[in-house]
Subunit: 404 residues, 2 copies
């Protein structure tokens, strides 16, 4: 007996069958091969219901029967595994300097992974949307050639994205109130699969939650820097979205009131003292523009060469980042805070001071393995997360239409 | 079509029937009187399943049939309503200066509400636990006299409570590693209902989520001051607990690095600049001890008399509190941040500056009605929330044992 409980199940009353389909699909995903009797025994659903649910999932080509049988007491059973061969889930991440599109099948195998240079800043939103749609169309064409049915497309943007897929603010792209989802739906000819738009950090933490070293950990936080700084949070096994979809905005938390000026007009915001853009500004003496990756690679070179100014700047950025991470740790108490994006190559020099600052500022006794780690998923996390978001939705019961 | 989805249902595979019982119970709670056919139509469960679930809920005396019938097309149907007459859910809040115990029935009607003076600080944990157990026993005795079956007892403490009900740190009570749950279970003779312990702010936000003016709002935050400051968060309709159960620790977030010293050794923590203890220290010039309520009442009197020093201190505390609230707003994006506990009587003087600071510091476009409000539940919120936590657990499918 513990004090843990999760409150009432989030029951959408019209959706009990969808929930049960999701329960069966998720069970098979984690326990395949398994028999209908296994599913019934483990889920508590009665056998007739399981047969009906499995039948529907087979019809939709999400599951299939194998020839395998189980030889226990009684007659052998037909075993069920994921089908999913004909499906594709697509994630497309819009960075300031590049676009990444990744498609996976139901089991998470990559079907394609492309990166393209992109002039996010400086172009009009209309041109940017056209470039995004063009890349999506090419990926869709390739998947069609492979005979894949698309389950959905989720696009990530570093910024505030409302529940209708309007990008309210994306400073890295210089966007305000860009109706990205509707524009893409139009550009793709109103497809019959869902097209959604989400914050990149939200998608990245979904990728960590599904595919990273901490996959399945119910409470995770992800901290990344675009040029800005933002967080994605999984709490109790679900993405924390908030009332308007804007959770995770940590970049303008003031960690150093006397610090450098921030793009928001205040001083010493996390973004201004520990963002990758700020680091480049300080160390390269130039305004970060276009592709950040070579600039970050330059910082890594100078850090490897033990250049004192570079090391000092990284250590200081680490301390501030640890301060920022302590906010996440204290307010949402994740098992671990994962540093992603451009922080990954810099991690050897920022993690030590960041970890110290975090340890000093965390109030609660830490669970085992708590602290800060660098992401193992690298720059693809948000695009992979877009595909993961599609799979999450399917597994929650938003099943694809049966093929004609 | 929106970008909103909630990810996979939190499926505990052994618990599909419990979930379905919960679905039916929650449906009747919000739609009674209703027929079995109504339940089947609205939940998507088949009629045979609904009959079996309703039968079990009637057997456990959570539902009952009424003589009422519905006259539509076809034969009249027996209507179902909440029974719950014989049940009681108990919440007990341990303040630094008083104990509050509240019992409610399934429908939320108060069966008893008692407050007792309590010397939380200065007494040994053993004596305090004995006092808590004594009050619980008296409440249990009264409920037994009323013929009530107890569904559960949840005790709230202002501090870090682990999932086993051990109070790891409660500075207001001077407790460290006090195994409150186990001690209470022993003192109450190992009762057959669940005894749980939780953080008071967590329980208070559950009370707001069930009974407050924002009841049912999926994303809520609650900010309260004991003498310390802490937060409770409901995200996506569920309490945000975090990996170790320690979410909501906002009190030692540094809002004013040059500010007054905090009990934690740092300077300018939210608790040190906007906690009710700090306010008393500044305005009364005395160390807050024992009952804070008369001291707060004194501050209210001086504020009503427009005493400049008092008004200035409250306005400043409000600004800092707005800064703290902005963290909640930016990181978890609730529909509203509710100020509770001792902040409620002070709200007329702290809300204006707090609201201004919040508006300045919130990054996202605010949903309608966003901002800061004072709790309508007052000092009873945590005790009511303890009872609400018991009802949440029942409605999630942790049903009481059938009476012998």
């Amino acid at each position: 007996m513990t004090t843990t409980y999760t409150g009432p199940a989030p029951a959408d009353f019209t959706d009990v069958r969808a929930t049960n389909l999701a329960v069966v699909l998720d069970y098979v995903r984690t326990n395949a091969p398994c028999s209908r009797a296994d599913i019934a025994a483990s889920t508590g659903l009665n056998k007739a219901t399981v047969s009906s649910l499995v039948g529907e999932l087979i019809e939709r080509r999400l599951l299939r029967e194998t020839g395998m049988t189980e030889r226990r007491i009684g007659r052998p059973a037909t075993m069920i595994v994921l089908d999913g061969a004909p499906y594709a889930a697509i994630g497309l991440d819009v960075g300031t300097d590049q676009l990444t599109v990744i498609a996976v099948d139901l089991g998470g195998e990559h079907l394609l992974a492309w990166r393209r240079a992109f002039t996010g800043r400086g172009a009009t939103p209309g041109r940017s949307v056209a470039a995004i749609a063009a890349l999506a169309r090419r990926a869709l064409g390739r998947l069609a050639d492979q005979g894949r049915q698309v389950l959905g497309l989720t696009v990530g943007v570093g910024g505030l994205v409302d529940p209708d897929g309007v990008v309210r603010i994306a400073t890295g792209l210089d966007w305000r109130d860009v109706p990205l989802r509707d524009s893409l739906v139009r550009a793709l000819g109103a497809p019959d699969y869902p097209v959604t738009v989400d914050n990149s950090a939200n998608l990245a933490v979904l990728a960590e939650h599904r595919y990273g070293p901490y996959a399945g950990t119910p409470d995770l936080a992800y901290l990344t820097s675009g040029p800005g700084v933002s967080a994605g949070i999984v709490a109790g096994g679900r993405l924390l979205r908030g009332a308007g979809g804007y959770a995770g905005e940590i970049g303008h938390f003031v960690v150093d009131p006397g610090g450098p000026e921030c793009s928001c007009g205040r001083r010493g915001c996390l973004e201004a003292v520990a963002g990758v853009g700020a680091l480049i500004r300080r160390l390269a003496g130039t305004e970060p523009a276009g592709d950040l990756e070579p600039e970050v690679a330059g910082i890594v070179r100078r850090a490897r060469a033990q250049e004192p100014k570079t090391l000092a700047a990284l250590h200081e950025a680490g301390r501030h980042l640890g301060h920022g991470a302590s906010l996440l740790a204290n307010l949402v108490n994740p098992s671990v805070v994962i540093l992603g994006g451009h922080y990954v190559p810099l991690a050897p020099w920022i993690l030590p001071t960041a970890g110290e600052a975090l340890d000093t500022l965390v109030v609660a006794p830490q669970p085992p393995g708590a602290g800060l780690v660098a992401s193992a998923l690298g720059h693809d996390a948000a695009a992979v997360g877009g595909a993961a978001a599609v799979l999450d939705a399917v597994e929650a019961g938003r099943l694809p239409l049966p093929t004609a």
